[in-house]
Amino acid sequence: MTLVLAPGTAALLALADQRLPSGGHVHSGGVEQAITDGLITGVQSLERFLERRLRTTGLVTAGLAAAAATITTPGQLQRLDREADARTPSPAQRLASRAQGRGLLRTAKATWAAPSTTLSWTDLGPRPHHPITLGCACAAGGVTPQGAALAAAYLSVSAPSTAAQRLLALDPVTVAAVTVRLGPAIEQVAAVAAHNLEFEHLPDDSDPLLDLLAERHAAREERLFAS
């Protein structure tokens, strides 16, 4: 029997797995602040929050990850890094993205010798944006740009949903069902994001709510999550 799957599918599963030890578990993607501010109070409001996050942050990071998976020169990497900065108006979110990119870079380095035949891990610098690192790791693992987009879109909801589950002591089965039910939306977002990978055509949607939550969170003294 032959298994008909895109090459790199197993690597894609690993890279989209929250247990990949790359530091994502200390980031809530705005959920901790949204709970504090009364925007998320249970599973229904969580689902609405996650869908909104998917269609903005998720879409943008999916585009960046897909584009990163196609990169062949350090110059393109630098350009994409600036594109990511420009699409992330909140300084706190930029920091959170680079902190998670740094963590993923450590895992990627330990796993693959280089992102591609023409790039080295050092070309990414010490603190690359998370979606760019994810795209490069996908390329290293033989995952397609579409796969990279899917991983980024999926992570944009799975990591925050876990944070909400912990903070509100929600039923883990219900939270898992919410994430899985978002599957078709996740696939749609990934498809849109990876449609045109020229940098100037990458999605650039933003969500002022998420920007504000990130900034309010960064200014807090007491918090469980780094973002």
């Binding site: 030890p21 994502g24 578990h25 200390v26 963590g103 944070a163 003294e221 918090r223 469980l224």
Partner: protein
């Protein structure tokens, strides 16, 4: 491979030995079974970074008090850094800064996402990054102390994060604690039974605690101490210095 450059298959995971080499390469030494070292990717730098000592244990057992004591005693001779894993606030880091046991820039706090245990064992990224930042800023460092968030008896540090670990339990928690065991009590490189001054108040039998601890730990050392009576944590400080002496200068 030059066998003389390696010490032993010990908690140091090989990263502190005479030559840089990648983690977890199985190798054979004369008179030893083939074995793997356990250092993680955090230890791949190939440089002899500082000795990393993990300090874990249940809530309130005296971890921060021990870190403060070690900083006071060792901070004059050694270049020190501290990472705290506070649960919600930066209480421990603030305590250490307020008591000026070390200059502020030598103490960093990391967030643990509601899961202190994950941050020291399953996904150690935030702690590795904090140590890398300390090393980058303050190199050369001799010693980094990593205090875990207060946790339970199953808490233990990944060998990818630390070289050796100390587990601190509290006499006031009852003399049953060493008997209950758990990875912290049984596998830590040093077990500290702290607050012995409270034994008469809580009716804890120190001989029972010490006897049970030795029973579950085999040859691994146990220290009974009271930071009230010995604020210099003499035995623990000496143990840490002995660990450092195993590192080539």
């Amino acid at each position: 491979m030059r066998p003389d450059l390696y010490l032993s298959d010990s908690a140091d995971g090989g990263a502190r030995l005479g030559v840089p080499r990648p983690a977890a390469l199985p190798h054979e030494l004369p008179g030893e079974d083939p074995h793997e070292h356990r250092a993680g990717p955090g230890r791949l730098s190939g440089e002899h970074g500082p000795l990393r000592v993990g300090i874990g244990g249940p809530v309130g057992s005296g971890k921060t008090a021990l870190v403060a004591a070690l900083c006071r005693v060792l901070g004059e001779k050694l270049q020190l850094g501290v990472v705290t894993n506070d649960i919600y606030t930066t209480e421990d880091a603030d305590f250490l800064r307020r008591n000026a046991v070390l200059p502020d820039e030598r103490i960093v706090a990391v967030q643990t996402g509601c899961c202190p245990h994950t941050a020291i064992r399953d996904d150690i990224t935030a702690n590795l990054d904090a140590i890398d930042d300390l090393v980058e800023r303050l190199a050369p460092l001799d010693l980094v102390l990593v205090e875990s968030g207060g946790d339970n008896l199953t808490a233990s540090f990944s060998r990818g994060l630390i070289d050796v670990q100390i587990f601190v339990v509290d006499v006031a928690g009852g003399d049953k604690v060493p008997r209950k065991g758990g990875p912290g009590v049984t596998t830590a490189d040093l077990l500290v039974i702290n607050k012995t001054d409270l034994a008469p108040m809580v009716g804890a039998d120190l001989d029972v605690m010490s006897g049970d601890a030795h029973k579950v730990r085999g040859d691994k050392p146990v220290v009974l101490q009271s930071l009230r009576e010995d604020p210099a944590a003499t035995d623990v400080a000496n143990w840490v210095l002995a660990q450092m002496a195993r590192v080539p200068a």
